[in-house]
């Protein structure tokens, strides 16, 4: 097995608030190989964004208590100084956020913003930086890139802005692209364009991609491996096919059963009961137990570990493997 590009070990991010401690990320571990596509699925408040903001060093260390390790090519990013971190971030990892309007600066021209990112990391003159920015805009499919580079973000449509963000994230040819809900604010037809673009860019630059989303459809079509998060913890992780066609966690089952599907008509949706918990008052034991139809006594007391069930497919659930297989085949697979 190749050396992992990114390895996160037991990462914890706690925020102290007047109402109590928000455990946004509570012991997350993962590893990502070069060129791999990882999908991170979870609802709002599951801690998926905070986890990867921390990986990028975007969470203020004074505002949160951060524990654990984030190893990028073996270097722990949590121990780097701000300046050293800056050299890695942007150049070796790029990030694309959900809302392209609020992540581009409204007062600067798009080309200048990309050129600035290049000049922050490489010693190139203004002219060369700008021509690279224009070239990059062209490669992400923006027509007339030299004209577009001289425009402001408000002159771009939503899809165009997201393309510009991707151009900015990839202009230094990073090894890792973190895309946090990159298409949630976009229409489906534009979503298809952007996801197609990310896939093509990944093939062209051999960039590893972490796709953070709540959309199980996006994950099914654009990732290799899937990690499901609930209440600040990873509850299941495995290859895409394992998770979709042999899931071992009741929360994933619930998600798969509750979504409406375009390709077949269901009689009735099977929702997960209740609502996701507040991260201040996470239920004791397994945090999913109040919503779980298969809850046992042990679930209310002991936190299940994320353990490998088979073939690298991990889940954090007290049910026995036989039981999980039986329930999945009987209840979930039939439905999906």
């Amino acid at each position: 097995m190749a050396e992992p590009l990114l390895e996160v070990k037991n990462l914890k991010v706690y925020f102290d608030t007047p109402d109590g401690v928000v455990k946004a990320c509570d012991g997350v571990s993962l590893s990502l190989e070069p060129g791999e596509r990882l999908g991170v699925v979870g609802e709002s408040g599951s801690g998926k964004s905070v986890t990867f903001m921390t990986v990028m060093g975007l969470i203020d260390r004074k505002a949160a208590r951060i524990e654990g390790e984030v190893l990028f090519r073996g270097v722990n990013l949590l121990e780097l100084s701000r300046d050293d971190l800056r050299k890695v971030r942007g150049a070796e990892m790029g990030m694309v956020f959900q809302d392209p309007m609020s992540s581009l600066h409204p007062f600067y021209k798009v080309g200048a913003q990309i050129a600035e990112a290049i000049q922050a990391h490489e010693d190139v003159n203004d002219k060369d930086a700008m021509s690279r920015a224009v070239d990059m805009l062209g490669r992400v499919g923006i027509p007339k890139p030299d004209e577009r580079a001289r425009q402001y973000p408000h002159e771009f449509s939503g899809g165009m802005r997201q393309r510009a963000m991707i151009a900015m994230a990839l202009c230094l040819n990073p090894d890792l692209l973190i895309a946090d809900e990159p298409t949630t604010a976009l229409d489906v037809t534009v979503q298809a364009q952007i996801l197609d673009l990310i896939d093509r860019m990944r093939d062209e630059f051999q960039t590893a991609v972490i796709m953070i989303t709540h959309d199980l459809g996006v994950v099914a079509e654009h990732t290799d491996r899937v990690q499901v998060m609930y209440a600040g913890k990873v509850v299941e992780s495995g290859t895409r096919d394992h998770v979709y066609h042999g899931s071992y966690h009741p929360y994933t089952w619930g998600l798969l059963q509750s979504i409406s599907r375009l390709d077949e008509k269901q009689d009735r949706l099977k929702p997960i009961k209740g609502a996701p918990p507040s991260l201040i008052f996470v239920p004791p034991g397994c945090s999913f137990h109040p919503r779980c139809p298969y809850v046992m006594d042990v679930c209310k007391k002991e936190v299940p570990e994320l353990i490998e069930e088979e073939y690298g497919h991990k889940s954090a659930c007290h049910l026995s493997l036989e039981e999980k297989k039986r329930i999945f085949e009987a209840q979930v697979e039939v439905h999906s």
Binding site: V188, A192, D196, A220, I259, R261, L262, P271, I272, A275
Partner: protein
């Protein structure tokens, strides 16, 4: 578009029934102005540009399309929350297009709306009991001393704890708040409910709860829904018939299964093919549209979809006519019958099975 076409655009079995809502040639233009003191109109946004639609009692009509295609404006026009520029709206056979506020009031009881954002659509300073009871107090449908009991009954019906009558919206989760919105819409026992993106702001695991609730209520109270959403999977699940809008026009309308199996308009096809399927084993042909939706201020000539249409390019190329077929550029297509109950506005409709799995 001619009226005859819309006359035939009815579901087969219900050809004799009177539609609850009938919309003919509905248009809405918003002026685009320039100048601050001396404002002058420099153009119009054609948000809704001639729509014919009929909604029959007890059915759910889904309205889909991209941002800015005019689906929310259509809903607001039908609800008479804004005035149309042209066209006619008939509610249960009565022309309500130009009724005054006062004359409109009796009809308000029969048509209610559920909004997208359960955080913005509930007054944060009122208790949910007050919020749900207000429609009854305004319309005097329930004697004053019985309002509380009636509200609690509604709360139970939508799956809220009636004891939470005195709580404020912030004490509820997103899904529960949307239930409050549903209870308020039901308070007057309306016949039509217009739901504008009712689940888009909710978490995936909670969406299904609200969708199931809407289905149960429809059965119990014989409700008619106009269901607007950009999520095509949700619309398919909920709707009997689905209308696809593009730049202020309905480009295709059909029963759900027909549309999803055999879309006839290339735009419907592209829209459907763009939806990712949550099953890694399903591989489909994907039509990726080029560019963005054009400005509704100066919509393209002929068929509005022609600058982005892969179909016209394909046909024009086969006939050696350049990149756009002249007919698509010059002649506006009419909504014409395709399969039974299906109407599409396209000169060169897609073949059956164009979207079938690879």
């Amino acid at each position: 578009m001619s009226v005859e076409v819309s006359e035939t655009a009815q579901p087969r079995a219900e050809a004799k029934r009177q539609p609850l809502v009938k919309v003919v040639g509905l248009e809405k233009q918003f002026p685009v102005t320039r100048g601050i003191i001396f404002t002058k109109k420099i153009g119009f946004v054609h948000a809704v540009d001639g729509i014919d639609l009929e909604i029959y009692p007890g059915e759910t009509v889904g309205l889909v399309g991209e941002t800015g295609c005019g689906k929310s404006t259509t809903a607001r026009l039908i609800m008479r929350l804004m005035d149309s520029t042209a066209g006619q709206i008939l509610f249960d056979g009565t022309d309500v297009t130009n009724l005054s506020r006062g004359d409109m009031r009796p009809f308000r009881k029969d048509m209610q709306m559920i909004f997208q954002d359960p955080y913005a659509s509930l007054n944060p300073r009122k208790t949910v009991g007050t919020i749900i009871g207000t429609p009854m107090r305004i319309h005097h449908t329930v004697p004053k001393d019985k309002v509380k009991g009636e509200v609690q009954e509604l709360m139970r019906l939508v799956g809220l704890n009636p004891e939470h009558y005195n709580r404020f919206p912030h004490e509820f989760s997103g899904g529960q708040r949307q239930r409050v919105g549903v209870a308020r819409a039901l308070a007057l026992r309306p016949r039509l409910i217009v739901a504008d993106e009712p689940v888009s702001a909710l978490d995936v695991s909670v969406q299904a709860q609200v969708l199931n609730l809407l289905e149960d209520l429809q059965e119990e109270f014989h409700l008619t829904y106009l269901f607007i959403a950009h999520d095509l999977s949700v619309v398919r699940h909920m709707s009997d018939r689905v209308a696809v809008m593009y730049l202020g026009k309905i480009v295709e309308i059909a029963e759900g299964d027909t549309l999803y199996k055999n879309p006839k308009h290339p735009y419907s096809g592209a829209l459907l093919s763009a939806v990712p399927i949550p099953d890694p084993r399903v591989k489909r042909e994907r039509i990726i549209l080029q560019g963005d939706v054009p400005s509704p201020i100066n919509p393209p000539s002929g068929c509005r979809f022609h600058p982005r249409c892969p179909r016209t390019r394909e046909i024009a190329k086969a006939e050696g006519l350049g990149t756009v077929h002249p007919r698509c550029r010059d002649e506006e297509p009419l909504l014409l019958p395709q399969h039974p109950g299906q109407f599409a506005a396209c000169h060169f409709p897609l073949d059956d099975g164009a979207l079938a799995a690879k």
